[in-house]
Symmetry: C2
Subunit: 156 residues, 2 copies
DNA sequence: TCCGATTTTGCAAACGATTTGCAATGAAAC
DNA sequence: GTTTCATTGCAAATCGTTTGCAAAATCGGA
């Protein structure tokens, strides 16, 4: 488990490598995309679109462009989508060569995020495949709770 | 694991008991709520709001009312909310006395739902609590894959 | 280095799920 | 029955996300 508050990304990748990945798939390396990748690269926890939009210098990009970029980067497996149940998708950069599969423990009050490396359901997927006949089984799993910090500040 | 397509609910509860539960918490037993509970009781898989709305006899209820009812029933722990990642919340009746905790295996194509009784992450929550200091840890876990039926019909 | 073919962008409008304000209705207690 | 408070229906608002479209930007080749 890794606190991801403001620590360096567990597998930082140089921005050059990222734009190179775009080029490799013959996608254009534009200003908005560079800014987006640069931002994601320095983050260590999943970012919501609105957070990305707010974090980017004013005028650098547009909400629709960010949404479109996230779809593209998701298809290219450069980012992974997470759902913390608040209705907003969150995205995290996937280190090249890895699948970036992991889960989170999210504070239900302050939204601080811990990264959990182990994947418990993984060994279960095979057994599910056997008993259910389903193919290509994947899963979404997130944990929620009250972080130590929030336990001490009991007021709203 | 239990196929929940159209089989009887694993722990069916008489409608009388349900309305009684409402009364116990001094909530009014109104027509729309009776219809809603009645509908949920005969279902064996989570229903989306729009499905509920469509299934109820025309004019019986209104979307806003259903949304409000689901919030109320969720607070009363009479229903549990599930998220299959398609942007629509789904609700399932919780048998009285149980917490209704379980997970699903959802076909990514036809949306058929299998219910999974075992809860793998449960024993992990305690260890997470130890290492993270979080309190009241819960989790959301759903599995996705292609059901046997859909594997044979390869076309879109 | 300029050009044309193709992508990508910004803006605004559209969308689907959900929430809310408010006046009318309904349920339950006196 | 009347009073009181919760509940409903309807319409409008909100939020996250998607889409149409014309303008701007990128890239490979002349």
């Amino acid at each position: 488990m890794t606190a991801s508050g403001h620590s360096p990304k567990r597998s930082a990748e140089k921005l050059a490598d990222l734009t190179e990945r775009l080029r490799r798939q013959s996608r254009k390396v534009t200003g908005p995309r560079q800014a987006l990748l640069d931002l994601l690269r320095q983050q260590s926890h999943p970012l919501a679109i609105r957070e990305i939009f707010a974090a980017l210098p004013a005028g650098i990009s547009d909400l629709a462009t960010i949404y479109r970029s996230m779809h593209l980067l998701e298809q290219m497996r450069m980012v992974k989508r997470f759902d913390f149940g608040d209705g907003a998708a969150r995205f995290e950069l996937v280190p090249e060569g890895e699948d970036g599969h992991h889960h989170h423990l999210v504070c239900t009050r302050c939204s601080v995020v811990l990264e959990i490396e182990e994947c418990f359901p993984e060994h279960v997927e095979r057994s599910l495949a056997q008993t259910s006949g389903f193919q290509g089984i994947t899963h979404r799993l997130e944990f929620f709770g009250l972080c130590p910090e929030c336990q001490t500040t009991k007021s709203i």
